[in-house]
Symmetry: C2
Subunit: 121 residues, 2 copies
């Protein structure tokens, strides 16, 4: 639907690292937190952009904001405002260009580990 031009990209803007600024250690550190790893997995599962609030994390709102900031500043996700919500998307292209296969390997590993540690569903 082309009618969906961004009604409000709003004045608010967020700082993202340039592709060349992304550091491997930063990405690994960002992914080494269980909370953030889960966020990335969820994000990868839907192949699209997700509102911050759809994640059912067992932490407060402030903490959630903090984790999203870490992911954004390390170059793992891209965030844009859309009205009152903030959309999140994996930076697949950039990560694949810089560290080929890394994101896929991590996601696969997380999946394997989840089933290995017993996820009934």
């Amino acid at each position: 639907m082309p009618a969906q031009n961004r009604p409000s990209s709003s004045g608010r803007s967020l700082e993202h690292p340039d592709r060349a600024e992304i550091r491997l250690e930063g990405v690994l550190h960002a992914l080494s937190d269980p909370m953030r790893l889960q966020i990335v997995c969820d994000l990868a599962a839907v192949e699209g952009e997700l509102n911050c609030s759809v994640f059912d994390l067992p932490v407060s709102k402030s903490t959630t904001t903090h984790h999203f900031r870490v992911l954004r500043e390390s170059g793992v996700v891209r965030q844009i405002y859309r009205g009152t919500a903030k959309l999140n998307a994996l930076r697949r292209d950039d990560l694949e260009a810089l560290f080929p296969g890394l994101l896929g390997a991590v996601l696969t590993a997380a999946g394997h580990q989840a089933s290995r540690l017993g996820v009934p569903s």
Copy 2:
């Protein structure tokens, strides 16, 4: 070569996590430190076991010991004593079985980043 039976595995033993105990977050955290990432890269480059002291790290000996312990306790490396020295080897098999492709992707990424950030040699 069968002639190389271990002359002194010595009484000292070190605790290693079982393969099933290795956690992805732990591995990622271990690799997210520049010092440890370099150790792993060096270790991968020689395809064999390396004495702790061959690494020329810009930190004190105590700190080096600390990093090797983190790598061992997270399941990334295996360490054995041999006389006064301690040999280190990557746990390639275990990591590949648990997280296929992960180690390779990280090593490749580290290599790419090193050349991207300008390593003359």
